[in-house]
Symmetry: C4
Subunit: 256 residues, 4 copies
């Protein structure tokens, strides 16, 4: 018999018993900072996948794995049981439409509520439009007590700027707050032009300190180092091209 | 238990008893003239917030306050009890989609009807594309009697132009008229390029005269003065840059 | 009590008794040819309005009349009782979204069916991208018998081109055909850059011959004449500007 | 009585009895490779149309045939009964919106399931951005066994690239896999700039070998040959224009 595809479909692989778990979200966004940070946490803490989320508001496509096998685009939920239980959320895409963004955030909060989540951390990037060598982590939260708490961990609050947080990282906090959940968004400064493991490293580092998680950051360090090498190479090529062009232009002057 | 987020959600803080209240709308739009004017009225008349409106057709984001605390984007209803009772509507955004614009306007009219609203003023800007030193207030209304009445207050009706009013300021009148409500749109002339407190001042001024409200306009005057200073400074910088460039170009001629 | 605004709302002013009426559609489109032609027929035949159609997929705005009074954007149905009964459809806009286009066409066909419509003429423009002095009327139809019939009236069928008819003029025929209705689309050749009463004149002329309607075309002739005068003036200004520029460039050569 | 137009409407001309039919999809896409390949199979195998699919998420238009007769845009299902039964799917358009893409793919899978489909081939183009003289056929599949099987037929799997398959060719595999169906996508390399019968030839050729179908490829060969002639002519014109321009520029140097 034919099965209908709902707007949003959840497939549970397991229904873990968790104690007041903290939800940590890192979906694709500015510099992919949030996604990189959560993926790092999942890997380091050997978190276990327990649910997949599919939506008709994701891009209508499959992704081809390196082995040639296709899979639908999706979001994934992982859990970790420890001193503090965690639910970690990452995925291929965010919803495409504004309406879909709201629907998806509410669905994620439904799931979180069912597992007893009362606290949410959403992770993302904070685009500066210029290269950032030493990215700081900026923040926003659902209440002033959390703001004060995070300041103690060195999180920067840009008090005179205001501004907004677009997408899941914003809506999970805003809609969660309307359900009585608390939470904060941690945003690593980044240029906004490239995927930024260096910024993700800072976000993962400060979050692990806040939560008392003992994780190594060496794999993000390695990715950041690799990125630095590539960037340096590109810059050096650019410099030599500019030099060459400049000298050619000077040559041309003699012709004129 | 999980709570679903409807397309539009109203949260009442209070259900005031109002006598034939007049609805005054000023949502973001051209030059933010309407929003500035209504915010000024709310402040001057110490109107009290009684309801918040959330919609999945608003941009999917939160706004970060200067204290680092986030909140969902929303529209807000205020009331004022006096010789004439008022409901004042302002907010962060209008609906993003055409369909959402219609839905939202109908929902606002539902609320207005429930409180006994029979008369609506919608406030906005009228973009001229050029700087306006002495903005006039132009109008449109649901019937010819109101047009004639407003002319007596100096409102300009551009009879030979026709044209339209896009968004909430238009739909509240048009859809309200279909429910038997009466109303008018007051539009302050503005360049359309900047937020314009000077134009908002004129709109607030004429509306307060029409409604017999005694309000000070000094805070809008101050904002307008500040804007004038900034604009003058920018122009002076532009002038000196043009002068400099011109003299440099003249210098270059001697080289050739 | 609050009244909800449906996606599409029909307000009947009258329910006329019509005998096998022919539906003639002319909504805004290329060169506004269809709209101009139907408006002309309505005026010349003194057709009477009997219904208004409102949709949340029209642009979210009101239109300001020359007297300063606003009205919702809408489509309008007129009828004419004569040797052949007619239903004439025109309006301010077509639906904005593809889905809305389908919904609206089906709703219009529902109404047409209720009045016993079995034959439909949809009117529009055929954009050529270049100025057309003597526009021909091109056609398309629901069946080959109508094609042959229309050829006798001088309608051109561009047999080697194929192509499509986008919007209401296309969907009313295509979806009508699926309900067993017959019909044709008459498209006046036009540049596609301007509102074109000259092309509308040809469409109205040939349709009135097909239907045996006796109407004067003088008001469209007058509009077309006016347009020709304006176009000629613009061209003459352009020519003198080009001349001036050319002579200035020639002057400059002597300087070099 | 008025009939409503559903979001998706299927009209069956016939309900054939098929034994474990294989679904082969070729809708418009990159280089129209998939559509050309399936149309070729339909023609060569004299497959019979048994169903038409209409959707309000297709472009809102009709298509005018060369005889002047209009028809709605649609997708079409054909069947072939032989050693292996086939269902072949092609059409004018894919759905316009992401949501519509999901709905349509699910509807197609519903139909396929009802006829007992367990295996799907989706055909498409693989855009390289440069001209391809000898296009290879690249692949992706729902499981590793099919990948290995297809490699034996010379299908290329770009293991280090990953990437995605957008639209029906991707979703039918991805959503089909979630229903327990198996399948593969065969993509002919193509520039992506033109309709490419040469690439479609390679896809049709390899698929017919996989399925053991005996078909002639001569009509696609002829179309490809024609395309080559046209392309060669365009290039030769371009070359002579470049030559002419170059020589004119050289002439100008003598003037200076």
């Amino acid at each position: 018999m034919a099965k209908k595809f709902e707007e949003i479909k959840i497939i549970y692989l397991e229904k873990p018993q968790l104690k007041d778990p903290i939800l940590i979200e890192g979906l694709p966004g500015i510099g992919n900072v949030g996604k990189l940070a959560v993926e790092h946490l999942i890997e380091e803490m050997k978190a276990k996948k327990f649910a997949e989320l599919y939506s008709t508001d994701f891009p209508p496509q499959v992704i081809i794995g390196s082995n040639g096998v296709v899979r639908m685009v999706k979001n994934e939920f992982f859990y970790y049981k420890g001193e503090k239980d965690l639910i970690l959320l990452t995925g291929d895409y965010q919803a495409l439409s504004p309406h879909g963004q709201y629907l998806l955030a509410e669905k994620i909060l439904d799931i979180a509520e069912n597992f007893g989540v009362k606290m949410i951390f959403t992770l993302g990037g904070y685009g500066l439009g210029v290269e950032v060598e030493h990215p700081r982590v900026t923040g926003a939260a659902t209440d002033i007590e959390i703001v004060e708490e995070l300041k103690k961990h060195g999180i920067v609050f840009k008090e005179d700027e205001g501004g907004g947080i677009v997408g899941a990282s914003g809506l999970l906090l805003g809609l969660g707050k309307m359900r009585g959940m608390r939470g904060a968004c941690l945003m690593g400064e980044t240029s906004g032009y490239i995927v930024d493991p260096n910024s993700a490293r800072e976000v993962a580092s400060v979050l692990s300190k806040i939560l008392g998680l003992k994780i190594s950051l060496s794999s993000l360090d390695k990715k950041a180092e690799e990125l630095r090498r590539i960037t340096e190479k590109i810059k050096s090529i650019e410099r030599s091209m500019i030099e060459k062009e400049k000298s050619e232009r000077e040559d041309l002057r003699y012709i004129g």
